[in-house]
C-alpha cells in the first residue's frame, strides 16, 4: 500500500473523486456501497486491485481544485438518484447478459424515468460499457496494456477541438455529460517518457482521443515518403503501362464521325499568318527589330573606394557647449542674482521662450547646493537627443503679429486730412440733427431740434443769421448749383427754401427768379397733394422763406433732403420709422411726384447717383438701385446690416458706403457685386452718418460713441485695382448725450475740413 502511494507520488498524480462514469467502470469488483457519497477514498478499491494494474492507472484529469470537486459532488448528488438505479439496472442486466448467450447482441433495455428537468417520462438507456466483454467497435486493441475503460473513445463528434482548449472538458457525450480532458503530464513527464519509452519519438498526440498514440507503420511510411518527395500513397504506381484503347492493330477508326466535307483551312496556308510573319520579317529587314540584341551591360561592381570624395563635405563637428558663466555659478556675484521683477518675468514666460533655463541662485557653500531637481527631465531630454527626437514639442505657432496686419501706407503720407478741432459753434440745449455746407465751402447751416437754423462761417464760426421755425428741423441742405444760392430747411410737413443774406446781385436775382418765377409753369394735369407756395420775388427777404413746399398732411417730419447733382431735383424722405414716403420735387416745373407706388419695407434714405439717372433707396436692410429714366430696378445690394442708418455714394458713382445701427460700415463696389467689398467695424456704437469728400480721397463716419473716424479711400480708375481704404484718424471731442453721439458729418468742398453735428448741441469744424 505504501509502495502504491509512493509510486503515485512519483508520478505526481493526484487521485481524486471520480466521475460516476469512471467509477462505474468497476462494476464487478465493487459493491453498491461504492456509489455512496464517499469522498474519493479509492485506496480501498485500489488495494483490492492487484498492484500491476495500479501501475497503469489511467491518467485522469488532474483537477485539484476544491471548487470543482464540490461542483462535481453536487452533480453527483444530482445524478445519484438515476445513477444508482442505473447501476442497479446494470447489475440486473448484466446478470441477465451473463446468464444469456454471449454472442447474442441485444440492446440494453431502456428504462422510463421521469425527467427532473422537463417532468416528462423519458427512456434512459444504460451506458454502454466498453469492457472486454462488450462488442464495442471502438475498442482499441493496439494498446492492450492500458485499462480498458480508458480506451473508451470520446464521442464528442466531429467538432473543432480547439473550442475546448481552455476548458477542463473536451466535449459532451451522448448523454450531455462533460467528457473530461484526460490528465496529461507536464514537460518533465514528456521528457521522462521520451527517455523511457523507445517508441515515444514515433508517438503523436491525438487531439481527438486526447492522448498520445504511436504512429502505425503505414503512417511512418507516409511520412518517410513525404520527406523524400515521393508520392505518399504506397500503392500508387505512377509508371503503370498504358492500356491502348483506340490505337494499335485493329482499333483504327475507319468510319468518319461526321459527313461534313473537309474544310479548306486544313490544306490552304493561312493568309493572315503570312501577313503577320511578313510584318516581322520586314521589321527585321529594316532593322526595327534587332534579333539577339545584346543586353545593356550594367557594371557588376562599383569602385566606391577609388572615387574622389572631395565633393562630399565632412560632417560638421557637433557644436561645442557654451562655457558656464558667472550666472551659472553656485555662488554668483550679487549682480548676477535676479531681481524680483526679473524672477517674476522669468516665471511668467513660457519655458521655451526663456532666455536661460535656470535662475541664478546663491549658496554659501558647495555642500549647501541641493540635488539637481531637473535630473530626470534632463536625462529624458538627453535620451530624446539620442533618438534624434526634438526635446521640446512646439505647439505654439510662431506668428509675428505684425505680419497679420495688412500693409497699409502710413497716415502721415496721406495728408491732408482733419486732425484737430479748430472751432465749435454751440446750439444751446438742443441736439443738432443736421448740417449742410455751402457748395463754395464758406458757409454752414445747422439745424437743431429746437427749430433754430443758423448760418455761420466755416473759418470763423461766427453766426451771421438765424431762423426760428416751429418744431424740429429734420434736414437742411444747400442747393448744389453754383449760379444760385439757397438752402432747404425741412420741418414738419414743410420744406422751406431760404436765400442767405449778402449775395451778389446777379446770384440773388437768379435765385429769386428760380424760386419765385414771375410766370408760373403750367400745372400738371393730375393734381398733386404737394402744394408749392412762394412769395413774390420783390417782397422776399432773407428773413423768411421765399418758397414753401407743403408736403401732404400727416406725412410727418422729412428726415432727409437730398439734391440731385444738377440742383433741379430734390428728393425728400418723410415719415416715422414705420413707413417712409419718398417725394421727388422738381424746381423748374414746381412739381412733386412720388416715384414709387408701393414700397417694400420702410424707406430710410434715398440718394441720387452723381452721374447717371440712378436712384438709391435704402430700406431697413437692403439698398435698391433704380434707373429713373427706364423706371426699373437695377440691382439690390445686401449689406447684411440689420438697420441701415446712413449711406453715401462716391463722387465717381461706382462705390457706395452704407452705415448701420449695428456698428458696421459696408463698402460696395457697384461694378463688382451685390455683397460688400469690405465691412468695417471700427465704431463701438451705432453709426449715424457717413460722407464722402467731394474732391479729396477721404470719407468720414460718425457714431454714437462720440467719435468720428476719417478714412482714406482711394479709388482707382482701372477696374483691376481694388479701392484702398486706410483708417486715418479718430476725432474725439463730442460728448455723448442720451446715448446719442455725433449725428451728422459733412465735408467742406475743396478743403479737407470736416463739419460735425453732435447730440451735445455743438457743431464742430475739424481742420487739417
Amino acid at each position: 500500500m505504501a509502495a502504491t502511494e509512493l509510486k503515485k507520488s512519483r508520478k505526481r498524480k493526484v487521485v481524486e473523486e471520480d466521475t460516476p462514469a469512471a467509477v462505474s467502470a468497476f462494476p464487478h469488483d465493487v459493491g453498491l456501497d461504492m456509489h455512496s457519497e464517499d469522498e474519493g477514498e479509492d485506496e480501498g478499491h485500489a488495494g483490492s486491485e492487484d498492484d500491476g494494474e495500479v501501475d497503469d492507472f489511467p491518467e485522469i484529469d488532474t483537477r485539484s481544485d476544491s471548487e470543482d470537486e464540490e461542483e462535481d459532488g453536487s452533480e453527483d448528488e444530482e445524478e445519484s438518484a438515476s445513477g444508482s438505479e442505473d447501476v442497479e439496472d446494470e447489475e440486473e442486466e448484466e446478470s441477465e447478459v451473463d446468464t444469456a448467450d454471449d454472442d447474442l447482441r441485444i440492446y440494453p433495455k431502456p428504462k422510463t424515468v421521469i425527467s427532473d428537468i422537463t417532468g416528462q417520462p423519458k427512456r434512459v438507456y444504460p451506458e454502454i460499457e466498453a469492457d472486454y466483454d462488450s462488442d464495442s467497435s471502438t475498442e482499441d486493441l493496439s494498446n492492450m496494456n492500458t485499462p480498458p475503460w480508458s480506451q473508451t473513445p470520446n464521442r464528442v463528434g466531429t467538432i473543432p477541438m480547439h473550442w475546448y482548449d481552455d476548458l477542463p472538458h473536451v466535449g459532451y457525450d451522448i448523454n450531455g455529460k462533460k467528457v473530461l480532458r484526460p490528465a496529461r503530464g507536464d514537460e518533465l513527464d514528456k521528457f521522462l517518457e521520451t527517455i523511457e519509452d523507445p517508441n515515444s519519438w514515433t508517438t503523436a498526440f491525438d487531439k481527438k482521443a486526447q492522448m498520445d498514440k504511436p504512429l502505425t507503420a503505414e503512417e511512418l511510411d507516409i511520412i518517410r515518403r513525404l520527406q523524400e518527395n515521393e508520392i505518399p500513397d504506397a500503392n500508387y504506381d505512377p509508371y503503370e503501362p498504358t492500356i491502348e484503347w483506340f490505337t494499335g492493330k485493329g482499333k483504327e477508326e475507319v468510319m468518319p464521325l461526321s459527313a461534313a466535307p473537309e474544310p479548306k483551312r486544313r490544306w490552304v496556308p493561312s493568309k493572315w499568318e503570312k501577313q503577320k510573319v511578313m510584318k516581322i520579317v520586314r521589321a527585321i529587314r529594316q532593322g526595327r527589330i534587332v534579333p539577339n540584341k545584346p543586353k545593356a551591360t550594367q557594371p557588376q561592381f562599383y569602385p566606391i573606394w577609388s572615387e574622389d570624395t572631395s565633393t562630399l563635405h565632412a560632417p560638421p563637428p557637433a557644436p561645442k557647449p557654451r562655457l558656464p558663466t558667472h550666472a551659472e555659478s553656485y555662488n554668483p556675484p550679487e549682480e548676477y542674482l535676479p531681481t524680483e521683477e526679473e524672477r517674476k518675468k522669468w516665471e511668467e514666460t513660457e519655458k521655451e521662450d526663456r532666455e536661460r533655463d535656470f535662475l541664478p541662485q546663491k549658496y554659501n557653500a558647495l555642500r549647501l547646493v541641493p540635488a539637481y531637481d531637473q535630473f530626470i527631465q534632463e536625462r529624458f531630454g538627453r535620451q530624446l537627443d539620442l533618438y534624434l527626437a526634438p526635446r521640446v514639442q512646439r505647439v505654439k505657432l510662431q506668428i509675428n503679429p505684425d505680419s497679420l496686419i495688412p500693409k497699409l501706407p502710413s497716415p502721415q503720407s496721406l495728408k491732408p486730412f482733419p486732425m484737430y478741432k479748430s472751432l465749435q459753434v454751440p446750439h444751446e440745449g438742443h441736439r443738432v440733427r443736421t448740417i449742410s455746407v455751402s457748395p463754395d465751402g464758406g458757409w454752414v447751416v445747422s439745424g437743431d431740434e429746437g427749430g433754430v437754423v443758423r448760418l455761420w462761417e466755416v473759418m470763423v464760426g461766427k453766426e451771421v443769421k438765424r431762423w426760428k421755425f416751429q418744431g424740429r428741423v429734420g434736414a437742411v441742405e444747400w442747393c448744389p448749383r453754383p449760379d444760385v444760392s439757397f438752402f432747404v430747411v425741412a420741418i414738419e410737413e414743410k420744406l422751406h427754401f431760404i436765400i442767405p443774406p449778402n449775395l451778389p446781385t446777379a446770384v440773388l436775382t437768379a435765385t429769386q427768379s428760380l424760386l419765385s418765377p414771375a410766370t408760373l409753369p403750367p400745372q400738371p394735369a393730375t393734381p398733386s397733394p404737394v402744394k408749392w407756395v412762394s412769395t413774390a420775388a420783390a417782397a422776399s427777404t432773407s428773413d423768411s422763406p421765399i418758397l414753401t413746399v407743403n408736403l401732404p398732411p400727416s406725412s410727418g417730419l422729412p428726415k432727409q433732403v437730398v439734391w440731385h447733382r444738377k440742383g433741379d431735383y430734390l428728393s425728400t424722405v418723410s415719415g416715422e420709422e414705420g413707413q417712409g414716403a419718398v417725394w421727388i420735387h422738381q424746381l423748374s416745373r414746381r412739381h412733386s411726384q412720388a416715384p414709387f407706388r408701393k414700397v417694400k419695407g420702410s424707406v430710410q434714405l434715398v440718394l441720387f447717383h452723381p452721374t447717371k439717372p440712378y436712384f438709391f433707396v435704402a430700406t431697413q436692410r437692403y439698398v435698391r438701385m433704380y434707373n429713373l429714366a427706364e423706371q426699373k430696378l437695377l440691382k439690390t445690394l445686401m449689406p447684411g446690416i440689420r438697420w441701415i442708418s446712413s449711406m453715401d455714394v462716391h463722387p465717381s458713382g461706382d462705390h457706395l458706403i452704407v452705415g448701420g445701427y449695428d456698428r458696421k460700415l459696408c463698402w460696395f463696389d457697384l461694378e463688382l457685386s451685390d455683397k460688400p467689398y469690405k465691412i468695417l467695424r471700427y465704431h463701438s456704437r451705432a453709426l449715424r452718418s457717413v460722407h464722402f469728400h467731394p474732391t479729396y480721397p477721404l470719407f468720414a463716419s460718425s457714431s454714437d460713441d462720440g467719435s468720428i473716424q476719417i478714412f482714406h479711400a482711394r479709388v482707382y480708375n482701372d477696374l483691376m485695382t481694388n479701392p484702398l481704404i486706410v483708417p486715418l484718424k479718430i476725432l474725439r471731442g463730442h460728448d455723448v448725450r442720451d446715448g446719442l453721439g455725433v449725428l451728422q458729418v459733412r465735408w467742406c468742398p475743396r478743403q479737407p475740413w470736416l463739419v460735425s453735428a453732435g447730440a451735445d448741441g455743438d457743431v464742430a469744424v475739424w481742420c487739417s
Binding site: K415, P416, M419, Y420, S422, L423, Q424, P426, D440, G442, M459, V460, G461, K462, V464, P501, N502, P504, T505, A506, V507, L508, T509, R750, Q751, P752, W753, C767, S768
Partner: protein, 455 residues
Amino acid sequence: MASTSGSETTHPVVFSTQTPYPLPSQRFMIPTSWRRYQLSQLVNKALSLPKPVPFDFLVRGEILRTTLAEWCAEKGIGEEETLEIEYFESVMPPQKMSTIPHEDWVSSVSCQLSGYFLTASYDGHIRVFDYSQKLLHTASTHSAPIASLCLVPTPSTPSTHLIATASHDLTARLMSLTLSSDDTDAMRTETLASLHLHTAPVASVQANATGTHLLTASWDTLIGFWDTSIPGADEVPAEDGERKKRRRVEEDAPRARRKAPLAVLKSHTARVSKAVFAAGAGAQAYSCGIDSTVRVWDVENGVCTDTITASAKPFLDLAITPLGTSALAASTDRTVSQYDLRASSTSAVTPSTATLNHPAMPSCIALPPASSSGTGIVTSAHEHQLLTGAYDGIVRLWDLRSVKSAVASFKTFEEKSKMEKKILSVDWASGVVCVGGEGGVEVWRAGEGDRAFLS
C-alpha cells in the same frame, strides 16, 4: 575770472550786444551750470546799472533757455570752443491793461492811431475808444459784418483820419473819421466811397505806408487794387435793388461814391484771405489764400510775379517783416510759417524757413511797427518779434531766432465758461497790443511797454 570757477566746469564766452549796454570784449569763463538769470545778473553787475535790466541771451542765434552745459551737450560743442553770446533786453511779461467789452464779436482792431482804439464788429459797427476805455463814437457803416478795418495813413490834419473797412456785404468802404479830443458830439464819421468789385465777402483791406493805395482781398479769388482818392461821381453804376435799399438807409447822409478798382489781381484759385503791401512805398504786394499759396504781385502792372506754394496749408493771415525779406503766414494746420521772399521759388513746394507751432489755429499775426516808435530805436530784438493770436484765446509773442516755443504768451478773454474764445485780430503799436475777438477787445502792454506810454 577763471579762478572763481573752483571745481565747477567753466566755458569761455565772449559777449556782444547791440543794446546801449556794451560789455568790454574780453573772454569770460562762465560756469556751465548758469542759466539766463545768472548771465543777466552778471551783465548787470559788470555794468553796475542803477536799475536792473533783464537780458536775454542769444547763443549762436538761439535764445538760451537751458543751462549752458545742456545747450553745449545738445549742440555737441566742446569745452574749449569760445562761445559768442549776444544779449539784448528781454521782453517783459505782458500785462493786461484793460478790457473793452463788445456786444458782438470784434473782427478787427487797430491801434495805429495813437491814443485811440478802432474796432470793427460783426454787427456792422465801427467803434472808437480812447485809452481810458471810453466809447467815443459808434458808426454803423455796413449792414453786414465787417471783416477788416485799417487806418489809412494820411498826412492830413491830425483831427481827420481815413479809415477803410471791408465787409461781408461785398464792398469795402472808405470813411473819414473826425476826432475831437474834448467833445464827443463833434466826432463823426462819413462814408466817402464804397469800393465795388467783389462778388463775395471781402476778407481784408490794407493800405500802403503812404496811404495812397488800398488792397482788398475777397473770397471770390480776386484782389482789388484801389487808390484812396474820392471820385467826384459814381464810377460803377448802381444795381437797382441796391439803390433802393441804400436810399432808405442813408437818406440823411450824403451818398457814398461808388468807386471802381485801378486794377484787379487775378491769380488765386481759392479765397484770398489777406493782401498786404510791401514795406515802404514800393509797388509790390503780397497775398495769401486758402489755396496754400503766397503770391507776390506787381500791382502797377497787375501781374503775379512770384508764387510760394506750400503743401496743404490754407493760409489765413499774412505779414511781411519790416525789412521785407520774409513773409509770415498763418495757416489752418496750426502753424505760422516763415518764407524767405528773396529766394526764387523754383521748386513746386517752397519749404518754409521757420515754423511756429501752435496748439490751436492761429488766426492773426501782428508785427511791431517799423521804426514808428517814438524813441527811434529799432532794437535787434524787436525786428525778430511777432505776435500771433490763436483760436484758443492765447496771444503768443515769438522770437524768430528761437522758434521752438513762444517767448511769452498771455490768455485773453478769461472767463468762467470752459469754452475758449477765439482771437480774430491782433494789432501791436508802440508797446500796446490790442486784441479783438469773440469776447470783445482787450488791451495789453508788451514789448518796450512803458516807454511807449510815456512818450
